[in-house]
Symmetry: C2
Subunit: 224 residues, 2 copies
């Protein structure tokens, strides 16, 4: 592969391809989506939020199990309890990072108190009933939920709305806060809201935490 | 939420929103993406394949770890070996499904031999070095890979190309077939190619295997 093609430089290769502007929209969302931790005030239109949830619900799921549940947090006390727990886990992470501790502590990792809409996304209970496509890899249920969240993320970006996926928490603690049934497991706190701007590059790249790998490093032929 | 809004009925709510046609493209891809198992002959343009890989590589990843590796299978013998292993796992799954065995056996679950491009996607090795965002939930690496595959899936759909995610395999067996380094773990066989048509509904819905849950079942407020 040449590495020279622009990701958005499209030509129709199939009778099923979308119109050019629609194809551009998909790549535009993929390229400019960011993990958002800085929000500005402003309500999220309820119809827009519904479109995002529907986008998630149209994700692929292994064996069509649709193993996702969304809890919308509107109670201020609950929002603060979630924030307090995440803040504790942020400190635990800092300690675990050892020599990168100080560098990490400068990063903003979540916008739980500032975002307009807060969702907790969980794996549903009784997932052991589903075998199709996950007999050997039960974690495929998490892969399905991730696809659902990625759908939301891209749809939000297209609509000009920011979304951040926070994973700094103990699933059991969060499960208890939202009164999840036994066997259910929170996997994401989603912060959704208006943003001042979408950065050109990921925050962890801008701050020098890490850089994007060259394609040659992630792609090989027939063997690793 | 009313449940009445069309997923694609958009109004600009933000100064950062895309042009209307681009927003439509994103929702169009999300709604019409299908897990494809039936392919027709026809090459995939190398530049198109590169766009899909780049789309995957622009996915979010926990702590920016980019824990994905793609092996493109061009060797026919290797392709057949992968197919043979998946076929065995299909039979194992049929046995595990017990009373739904016969119903399952009628489903086509993969197009490994017919698709134009075959990729094996794996979690990279040495992932234990990454702590940020996955100290308490190490499986966030799989979530990142799933986001990458969902990016490819949506981009492929927009370009009119079909993609199917096959998860009927033992990761260790597949790892050995592609000579993956110790600690790496295959999570997807991706079949990519041209299709006769994209069905209106998921195959597992059309065949009566299961149905889409109502939004009210997957969404609640403040507690489950």
């Amino acid at each position: 592969m040449s590495g020279k093609t622009d990701m958005t430089g499209t030509k129709a290769h199939s009778k099923h391809s979308f119109p050019e502007e629609e194809i551009r929209g998909v790549y535009h969302a993929i390229e400019s989506r960011r993990d958002i931790r800085h929000f500005i005030p402003g309500e999220i239109d309820p119809e827009l939020l519904e479109r995002l949830i529907k986008a998630a619900h149209h994700a692929p799921s292994v064996g069509y199990m649709q193993p996702w549940h969304f809890v919308r947090i509107t109670d201020s006390q609950l929002r603060h309890a979630i924030h307090d727990h995440v803040e504790q886990e942020r400190l635990n992470t800092a300690d675990a990072l050892e020599q990168r501790r100080d560098e990490f502590m400068k990063l903003k990792i979540e916008g739980i108190l500032e975002c307009s809409e807060l969702l907790v996304v969980s794996l549903t209970s009784q997932r052991e009933q589903y075998i199709l496509g996950r007999r050997t890899i039960p974690e495929m249920d998490l892969a399905s939920v991730a696809c659902a969240i990625q759908n939301m993320w891209l749809a939000a970006r297209a609509e000009g709305i920011g979304l951040g996926w926070v994973s700094f928490f103990e699933p059991e603690v969060l499960a208890s806060l939202i009164k999840a049934p036994q066997g259910a497991l929170p996997v994401a706190i989603l912060c959704i809201g208006h943003v001042e701007h979408f950065a050109d590059r990921p925050l962890l790249e801008e701050t020098g935490w890490d850089s994007r790998r060259p394609l040659s490093e992630i792609l090989s032929e027939n063997q690793w």
